[in-house]
Symmetry: C2
Subunit: 282 residues, 2 copies
C-alpha cells in the first residue's frame, strides 16, 4: 500500500478525516475474501520484508551505523494501540525492539521536565523503539485536564519539536502515528469490554471520564499535530475504525522508515580466511 496519503500536510483538519476510511489501500485489490481477512493476509505477507529490514538495521549497528527508528503511537482509548504492539511490532524479532508504555507519571517523573522519562527510553542504534503513549500526553491530557498552564503547554510544543529534531540528527527516524477512531466505534469497543468477563480487566471507569471530554481531546490532537508536524518528523493520522487497516498502515510506515534507512550488512572487522583456519584447527 501507499502510506503517503496518511501524512499530515498544510491545512490539516482532523475533523475532516473519516475514521472508517482506508486511504492508500484498495479493499478490492485481492478477491475472494472479506476485507478483514484480506487485510490480515496482507499484513502477514509483509512480515518477511519487515523482518529482513529489522535484522539489517540491527546488524548495521554492530558495524557502527547509528540509525534507529522510533515509532510513536497516540490514540484515544480502545483505538487499537495494543493490537499494533501485538500484531505489527510483535511480528519482528523482539531482541531488536524496545517497547515503552508510558503511564500516568510517577512522583519521580513529575519532579523532572516532561521529556526526562522519554529521553531515557529513546532507542539506541539498530533498535526499533516504540512508544505506547508518549510525551504527547503532556500536551493532550495536559491541556484537556489543565495539568499545566497555557504558557507551559506552548513551551512544550516547541520543546517537542526541538527534541525530535535532535533525534533525527542522531540518526533516529521518528514515525508519529495517531490512530483515529470515531466516537461511536469507541462506544462499541468499550461496551464489548464491559460485556465480557475476560475483558473487564481492560476496562477502567476513567475511560468514560475521558470519553466525556471527546471534543476537547480532538481539539488538543488537532493543535498538537499542527504544532509538531515537521518536515523531519511529520505526523500520520491513521483511520482506525477498521483494525486490519490500521495495522497494515502502521506496518507500512515502519517499512517505509526502514527502507529510507536502507541498512546494509556490515563488512567483517576480522580476517575471514584467518578465522576459517582457526576454526578448522579447533
Amino acid at each position: 500500500m501507499d502510506a503517503s496519503a496518511l501524512r499530515v500536510g498544510q491545512g490539516f483538519r482532523l475533523a475532516d478525516i473519516d475514521p472508517s476510511a482506508t486511504p492508500g489501500f484498495d479493499p478490492d485489490e485481492l478477491n475472494g475474501h472479506g476485507a478483514k481477512k484480506r487485510g490480515a493476509a496482507a499484513l502477514e505477507e509483509n512480515v518477511p520484508r519487515l523482518s529482513d529490514l529489522q535484522e539489517r538495521l540491527f546488524a548495521s549497528s554492530t558495524g557502527g551505523a547509528t540509525d534507529g527508528v522510533l515509532l510513536i503511537v497516540q490514540a484515544m482509548d480502545t483505538a487499537g494501540k495494543g493490537g499494533i504492539m501485538r500484531h505489527v511490532v510483535g511480528a519482528v524479532d523482539p531482541q531488536g525492539v524496545l517497547i515503552t508504555a508510558f503511564k500516568k507519571p510517577t512522583e519521580e517523573e513529575l519532579a523532572h521536565d516532561f521529556l526526562w522519562r522519554v529521553e531515557r527510553r529513546v532507542p539506541g542504534p539498530g533498535v526499533i523503539g516504540v512508544f505506547d503513549r508518549s510525551h504527547y500526553e503532556d500536551v493532550l491530557i495536559g491541556r484537556v485536564r489543565s495539568l499545566a498552564g497555557p504558557d507551559e503547554i506552548e513551551r512544550r510544543y516547541g520543546a517537542i519539536v526541538d527534541f525530535e529534531r535532535g533525534l533525527v540528527e542522531r540518526g533516529i527516524r521518528v514515525v508519529k502515528v495517531m490512530l483515529h477512531i470515531g466516537k461511536d466505534e469507541q462506544k462499541e469497543r468499550l461496551a464489548e469490554r464491559l460485556g465480557r468477563a475476560d475483558k473487564h480487566w481492560k476496562y477502567n471507569p476513567g475511560d468514560v471520564d475521558e470519553r466525556l471530554l471527546w471534543d476537547a481531546y480532538q481539539d488538543a490532537y488537532q493543535l498538537a499535530i499542527e504544532r509538531t508536524s515537521t518536515g523531519e518528523a511529520p505526523w500520520h493520522v491513521v483511520p482506525a475504525n477498521r483494525k486490519w487497516y490500521a495495522r497494515l498502515a502502521v506496518q507500512q510506515l515502519l517499512i517505509d522508515a526502514l527502507e529510507g534507512i536502507d541498512p546494509q550488512w556490515p563488512a567483517a572487522d576480522f580476517d575471514v580466511e584467518h578465522e576459517k583456519a582457526r576454526l578448522a584447527a579447533s
Copy 2:
C-alpha cells in the same frame, strides 16, 4: 510433549546427555513431513495456548496477583539462544515480555556485586522476563577465565540459590534452561557464519577463543548446574543440535510454568452495570 525428562535430577552428568536427542518428543508422532517441519508445525500449534496463558498472567496482575515468570537461557555460542528469543518468546505479546541480553559487564556493573545488574531486570508481576545469558556467566566464564577466585565462585553458587529462592517466594517461577549443543555442531554453525557475508556480523573471533576452552566450559556447566539446581528452581538441559526440538522444548517449559500458575481473569473492581449505564449515556 512431556518436558519433565529435561529436568536435572540426582547424579546428573552433562557428559551423558546426547545433544542430538529429542527426549519427550517422539519424531514419529506426526506423519508425512520431516521432523524439522513437524517440529515447526507443533511449535505453531502451541502458540494460541501460550498466548492465552500469557494474557491471563498479565491480566491477573492488574487484579493484584504477584505471579511472574523468569526464563533464564544459557548456552555455548551458536546453540540457538537467538532463535529461542525470536521463535518462542517472539510468538507472545511483546507488551508482556521483558527480554534482557546480558553482555560483558560494564565498569559500573563490575563496581557492584554480580547480582546487582540482574536484580534490576527481574520481571514484575504479570510479566514474562527472559534472560539471554544471566548471572550464571559469573560462575561460567568467571570460572573458566579465572575472572574471580575459587572462594568467590563458591560464594556465588550459594548467592544464586538464595537469590532465586527469593524470586520464587515472591511468586516468580524460575525456568532455567541450558541449550546443549555438541562441539561438532558448533563448528558447523560457526563455519556457516564465516561462509556467508550476511552472517559475518554474528561472528566474533572471541567465539573461537571460547571454543578452545570447550572442556573447561562443560566442566563449569556441570558444576554450576549441580550446585544451583534446587527443588524450587531446577535446571533443564535441552539438547540443541536440532533447533526445532530445542524451541519446542523451551516453549513447553514456558507453558508448564504458566499452567502451574494457572492465572485467572481478575474480577471487575468496578460496578459493571453502573458503568454500562454511564457508557450508554455518554
